[in-house]
Symmetry: C2
Subunit: 255 residues, 2 copies
C-alpha cells in the first residue's frame, strides 16, 4: 500500500466514508461491527503503541472479529487512517473566540499542540493531501474565523494559519521523537547521548566543528533539562506571532 497513502481510489467511496453516508441497517439486531467501533479501536492502538503497531490484523483482534471483516466497513488501511485523522480533529475544543487576535492564535497553536501530544501518530500519518472530512472542515472554519478580521487578504489569512500550524507540527514532531525513541530503545534522552558521545568524540577530530560543538552543547544542556522541545515551541511561536504582528501593523497603518 505504500506507507499510509490515502484515497488513491474512488473519491466518492472515500468521501462517503468520511462523511458517514450510510443507510441505517434495517436488520433487527444491528451488525456487530461499525465504522465507528473500528476507528475507535484503531485510534486506541495507535495512541498506545504508535502507527507501526497499527495493523489490520491487530484492529480485528482488538474487536474480536476476523481480519477480513474489517474490510466490510473500510476499503483499506489508508482510508481507515484518513477517518482516524478526521475523527481526532473532531475532538478538539472550539470555545467561543475571545481576546485579541494574538491571544486567539496562540490559543489555537496550543490546542493543536495538545492534539498532537494526545495522538502522536498523526504526525506521521498526515502525509499527502488533507483529509477533507467534516471535522477537518469544521476545524479549518473555526480557526480561520478567529483571524479573518485582522486586516489581511483571504490568501494571507490562509497563509498565516498554515504558518502557525506548520510550526506547531514541527515542534510537536521534535517532542514526539524524544518520547518514542525512549520507548523504542528504553533509554532516556540523556542516556542516549551518553552512549553516543564517546564514539562521536572518537570520530570528530578536536575543533573540527567549533560552532556546532559550542552551541550544540548549550542547546543540549537545555534539552537535558527535559523541556528542550517545549522551549523550541515557545520561542518559535513567539517569533512567528511577532512576525505576523509586523504585517498586521503595516496594513493597519496603510489603511
Amino acid at each position: 500500500m505504500a506507507s499510509e497513502r490515502k484515497a488513491t481510489a474512488d473519491p466518492a467511496r472515500s468521501l462517503a466514508l468520511l462523511w458517514r453516508t450510510r443507510e441505517p441497517t434495517s436488520r433487527s439486531a444491528g451488525p456487530a461491527l461499525s465504522v465507528d467501533r473500528i476507528v475507535r479501536a484503531a485510534i486506541d492502538i495507535a495512541d498506545a503503541e504508535g502507527l507501526d503497531a497499527l495493523t489490520m490484523r491487530r484492529v480485528a483482534e482488538a474487536l474480536g472479529v476476523g481480519t477480513m471483516s474489517v474490510y466490510t466497513y473500510v476499503p483499506g488501511k489508508a482510508e481507515l487512517v484518513a477517518v482516524m485523522i478526521d475523527t481526532a480533529y473532531g475532538e478538539m475544543p472550539r470555545p467561543a473566540v475571545e481576546g485579541d487576535w494574538r491571544t486567539r492564535l496562540e490559543r489555537i497553536a496550543r490546542d493543536n499542540l495538545a492534539l498532537y501530544q494526545r495522538h502522536p501518530w498523526m504526525l506521521r500519518a498526515e502525509t499527502t493531501r488533507p483529509v477533507l472530512g467534516p471535522h477537518l472542515m469544521a476545524k479549518y472554519d473555526y480557526e480561520l474565523s478567529a483571524i479573518v478580521d485582522i486586516g489581511l487578504t483571504d490568501v494571507e489569512i490562509d497563509a498565516v494559519l498554515t504558518l502557525v500550524l506548520g510550526h506547531v507540527k514541527s515542534a510537536a514532531r521534535a517532542a514526539s521523537e524524544v518520547v518514542d525513541l525512549e520507548r523504542e530503545t528504553g533509554m532516556t534522552d540523556g542516556q542516549w547521548w551518553q552512549s553516543h558521545a564517546p564514539w562521536l568524540e572518537t570520530f570528530m577530530t578536536a575543533g573540527a566543528y567549533p560552532t556546532a560543538s559550542r552551541v550544540g552543547t548549550a542547546a543540549g544542556q537545555q534539552h537535558a533539562a527535559a523541556y528542550g522541545p517545549e522551549y523550541a515551541f515557545e520561542f518559535g511561536l513567539q517569533r512567528v506571532l511577532d512576525g505576523i504582528s509586523v504585517v498586521v501593523a503595516e496594513r493597519a497603518a496603510n489603511r
Copy 2:
C-alpha cells in the same frame, strides 16, 4: 523494521558507518561493492521513485548483486537511510557567508528548500533523531556560524535555526505532496479537486462552513495558479524573519 527507524542497535556500528571507519581492503582487486556505491544507488532510486520504491532487493538489483550482499556493507535498511541522509547533506553548497544576518539566513532557507526539492524522500525519512554524521555536523556548524553574531544566546541561536529549518521543511512537505500525489494518481492538482468537489458539495449542506469556503476558495485559486506552495514558503519565511528581527532589535537596544 517499523517504517525507517534508525540506529536502534549498536551506536558504535551505526556511527562507524556514517563516519566511514574502514580499513582499506588489502585485497588485490577491490570488492565489487562498497558503502558508497550502495548509497549512491539507493539515493538514485529514492530520487526517481520515492521512498516507497526503495527496497533492499531493488538496491541489490540496481547494483547487479544478490539481495543479501548489501547486508555485508550495511547493517540494515534503517542505517542505509541514515547514511543516505547524511550524504545528501554533504552535497549542499557552503559558500562563504556574506551580507547581513537576514540575507544569510534567507539564503540558508533557500538552500535547504532546494535540497528537499532534489531529494523529496528526505521529508519522509527524517523521523526520529538527527543522524549525527559528518555532513550533518558540517551543515549545522556552517548554518550556525552564519548567525552566531546576531546578539542572541547560544540556546536562542539554536532555536532560531530550528525555527527557520522547520518552516522550510513544512513548506517543502506541502509542495512535495502536490508533486507525488500527481505522480501516484496521474491527476494534476486541479483535476483532483474537480473530481472531489461535486461530492464534497453533496455532503456539505450549503453555508455550513462559510469562512472555510470563502478563504479556501481564494487560497485554492492561488493554489491552482501552480505556485501555491511557493507562496506559502515565501510568506512564511518573511514572517519568520520579521519575527526574529524583533528579538534581535530588542537585544541590540538593551545592550
